[in-house]
Symmetry: C2
Subunit: 75 residues, 2 copies
């Protein structure tokens, strides 16, 4: 219950807010349920493979810095 180490949550939340979406509408555009997005943001679970794909897709569709990118601050 220590939730998740990697803060996907923060990144997902950032992305969501940049797109001016509610958890519900973001969930819909990603093809997952509202509860799932909520769990990501609050660190209870980490996105599945497929979910990650969708998230990155959403990023690219809106020309936004990759939220789920590992090699960050690669300078």
């Amino acid at each position: 219950m220590t939730k998740t180490k990697d803060d996907f949550g923060a990144r997902v939340k950032e992305l969501r807010e940049q797109l001016h979406l509610t958890q519900e509408s973001m969930a819909e555009s990603l093809g997952v349920s509202f509860a799932t997005v909520n769990r990501w943001e609050n660190g209870w679970t980490a996105p599945s493979k497929l979910a990650l794909r969708q998230i990155e897709l959403l990023c690219k569709q809106h020309h936004i810095t990759p939220v789920t990118d590992d090699r960050r601050t690669a300078k």
Copy 2:
């Protein structure tokens, strides 16, 4: 253990064979694990929402009749 009613398995298998893919390579192009594709084909589980999206996407990418289409033989 009655497996699944709807034979997604057969349809997924058809699609896979039309594309000349192994379970492993199909899994990769769908963004899921090998075990998941295998479980679909053998009827142990049914694809999730997201998985269905990917499957239909794969169909369209290769201009193949929608495997996961409900309204089949619609005339």
